[in-house]
Structure formats: C-alpha cells, structure tokens
C-alpha cells in the first residue's frame, strides 16, 4: 500500500465524489422502464423501482414533482439525477416522470381526468365564450411546428389586422409542460392579449402526453385570459382540452374559430347591398302600383259622373221633346192665333198648314 500512493477517501468523501462524478456524467439523464413497488410516504415522498427484463433501479421523488398519476406496471420515462445514498444504495432522484406507451398514457389520463373532474376543473359553467372582438392573440406553440404554420396560414387567409404574439415553446418532451406554463404565466401577467391559443399539430400519444400534465392542465384552468386549445387531430382529446374554455379540433380549426372569413364577409356585404337594391326597387314598384290604382279609380269616377250627366241630359231632352209644340200639332191639335171674337180673322196652324179663317160664331162648350 505504501508504494502505491493512491488517495484515501473517507466513506463520506468517497460517496460525495461518486455523486459529483455521477452528476457530471449524467446531468438530467432520461431513463425508461416499468414502475414497480410504487408508494408514497408521509404524503410527500414517492418511492418506486424502475425496471426492465434485466435490471432494476430505485427511484425517489417529491410528490409535488409528480405530474402524472402512477401505478405499478406503468411504463414511464423519468428525467433524473443518479445518486449514491448515504446508505450506499444507488438510486435515481427523479425530477420529472411521464408515462409512455399507449396503455400507460391512457391509464394515467383516466386517473388524472377523474381526479381533476372531482375538483371541478372541467366544469362547463366555468367555460368562457370567445371574446366578441379579438384583436390580439397570444399563441403558445413551437414556431418550427407544422401545426403552428397551419394556424398562421389559415389565420392570414381568413382575416387581417390582428396582432399575434407567439411564445415559442417546446410542445413535446419532458421540458414542454414547464415552458408552456411559463408562457401562460407571461401572457396572464402582461394581460395584453384577448385570448391565448395553445397550438400543437398531430402526433403520437407519447408526443401529445405533455398536454395531460397535471400542472399544465391546472395552469390552463386558472388562466385569467380565455384559452383555446388546438392540439393534435380531431380524434385526440387531452386534459388541456377539457380544461380550456374553447376546444378546437386542430390548429387550423383554432384559427377558423378565432377569425371570420374575409371572403364570407365580402360575400355577405355584397348580398346585403343587393338585397337593399331589390328592396328599393320593390318599394318603388309598390308605390307606382298604388299611384296607378289611384289614377284608374279617379278616371273611373270621372267616367261615371260623365255617364250620369249624359243620362240626365237625355231625359231632359226627352222632356223638352215632349213639350215641343210641333209634336203636339203632329198629334192632331191646332194652334189658334188672334182674338177669337166673332167677325175677327184668326190664323190656325196645323201640323201641315197655316189656315186663315174668320170667326163666325162662338159657342159655349
């Protein structure tokens, strides 16, 4: 031993050096395996083993850091720091844990959904409608994601004059949830947007797992500014969707819900103008018709009066005709002119002759 001057450590120092080496070598190592012997001690310390077919490693984490429900048999991915404990046991101090694989994700989803539903996080009564006027939109997404590009494309096609403030975050992976939570906090603190849109295109169940993160779901439910989610495809449902005020089926659908379609608005305006034009023409036609009717009525009244007057004149003419002396003479009567005195000459007018006569005698009738 004396010939080999190796450093001699105390046990404590050796353990500290090992931990230093481990921390340097594995800063935030990510390990995937199956959960076994899961338990929570004193309501705050979580212990479980992470195992696969050939190996097993003990894990420790604080309960508040556990953002997905866990149970034995679940497949998970942990971000952890390896550590040699004071008792010489090798373990992982877990900073983050996330279920992986469809079965584990579904199980975790159902467990957390039940828990948060009981707390009222998904209550329909808490949902706020889309603001009537949207001028500023806060978007939380990865600017490199296809879903974000779709969202912007549809937004630009449909409407203009909007200000879109984008918070660039990861939208998958273990760091994503915290980044999205920070972005939500940023928009809520600055308070300058009318609505927050959380956007992420389609992906596998593992890719979308971040949107079932308990802390993120709670942050969405607690947002003072209304939140719309456009995550994945039509068939995907996340707990963030359930906690959001408005759910769009996809990023493109979110853009559609947030904007009116300028082409539809232009078409509607043109239809309005055309309708008014038709209305005006109809009103003018109606008035013209009313006037025509009035003129016809007045003309008929005038004709009627003229007719009445004509009838009256005819009857007067008939009366006059009856009074005409010629007509009396025609019936055989005669008109005598001159003093009917014996010896006087008189003139007698008949229908056809003037007779000159002398009165010879006058007799009483």
């Amino acid at each position: 031993m004396e010939n080999n001057p190796q450093q001699v450590y105390t046990v404590t120092d050796f353990q500290a050096v090992c931990n230093q080496i481990l921390e340097t070598a594995f800063t935030g190592v990510i390990v995937e395996g199956e959960v076994a012997s899961y338990k929570v001690n004193q309501g705050k310390f979580v212990f479980f083993d992470l195992k696969d077919d050939n190996a097993s490693v003990g894990c420790f984490m604080m309960l508040f850091a556990q953002r997905f429900p866990l149970e034995d048999g679940m497949r998970v991915r942990v971000r952890a720091v390896p550590k040699l404990t004071n008792w010489g046991k090798f373990s992982l101090t877990v900073q983050q844990v996330q279920p992986v694989g469809e079965g584990s994700l579904k199980k975790s989803f159902e467990m957390l959904k039940k828990k948060l539903a009981v707390e009222g996080l998904f209550d329909a009564a808490k949902k706020r409608p889309l603001p009537e006027k949207i001028l500023k939109i806060g978007v939380i997404s990865s600017t490199q994601a296809a879903g974000y590009a779709d969202f912007c494309k549809i937004l630009n096609e449909r409407w203009g004059g909007l200000t879109v403030l984008t918070a660039h975050t990861q939208v998958q992976g273990m760091a994503a949830a915290d980044q999205i939570i920070k972005a939500l906090k940023y928009f809520n603190e600055h308070g300058e947007v009318d609505i927050i849109a959380v956007i992420r295109g389609g992906g596998s169940a593992d890719d979308l797992a971040v949107f079932n993160d308990e802390a993120l779901v709670r942050a969405i439910a607690a947002s003072k500014i209304p939140v719309i989610t456009g995550i994945g495809h039509e068939v995907d449902e996340s707990l963030c969707d359930l906690a959001a005020d408005i759910v769009a089926s996809t990023p493109s659908n979110a853009a559609q819900m947030l904007t009116r379609d300028r082409r539809e608005v232009i078409a509607s305006i043109k239809a309005d103008v055309k309708r008014i034009n038709n209305l005006l023409n109809t009103k003018i036609d109606e008035l013209t018709e009313v006037n025509r009717g009035e003129i016809t009525r007045i003309a008929q009244e005038i004709y009627h009066k003229i007719e009445l007057l004509g009838t009256e004149v005819s009857s007067q003419i008939k009366i006059l005709a009856q009074l005409n002396p010629e007509n009396v003479l025609a019936r055989g009567y005669a008109l005598v002119r001159g003093d009917v005195v014996v010896g006087n000459d008189i003139e007698i007018e008949t229908n056809k002759h003037f007779v000159m006569a002398n009165v010879k005698a006058i007799k009483e009738k």
């Binding site: 006027k133 600017t143 912007c152 937004l155 630009n156 409407w159 203009g160 004059g161 909007l162 200000t163 879109v164 403030l165 984008t166 918070a167 660039h168 975050t169 990861q170 760091a175 980044q179 999205i180 920070k182 972005a183 940023y186 300028r262 608005v265 232009i266 305006i269 043109k270 309005d272 103008v273 309708r275 008014i276 034009n277 209305l279 005006l280 009103k283 003018i284 008035l287």
Partner: protein, 63 residues
C-alpha cells in the same frame, strides 16, 4: 380618426337595418343606398388589403 374595418362593418349593418326599419323614407333611400354601396366597396378593399402582424416574443421560456 379613421374607422377600422370592424367599425365600418358595424356602420354598414346599421345602414342596412335602416332600410327595414320604420324610419325608412323613400326620399332619403337613394342617397343612403349610394353611401352604403361606397362603404361596401371600401370594406372589401380594406379586407383584401389587411395583413396580420405576427411577432415572436423574445422571452426564453426554456429557462
């Protein structure tokens, strides 16, 4: 201050409503119709020209 497109659309809507209201007067209708037609064209131009402003916030959310 110049009106924005939403305000113009609101103005057009209320202008259209006048034609269906009891306030409608044929003597005023022609002038109003001409004004609304001009407004509709203005809105169409505005809508076609309007662009969105998309900005990425400088804040680093990964820290």
């Amino acid at each position: 201050m110049a009106k924005n497109v939403s305000e113009k659309i609101d103005e057009l809507k209320s202008g259209v409503e006048w034609f269906y209201s009891d306030d409608f007067k044929l003597e005023e209708a022609s002038e109003k119709y001409k004004a609304l037609t001009t407004l509709a064209k203005e809105i169409e131009t505005d809508l076609n020209d309007l662009k969105n402003e998309i900005k990425v916030i400088e804040e680093d959310f990964s820290k």
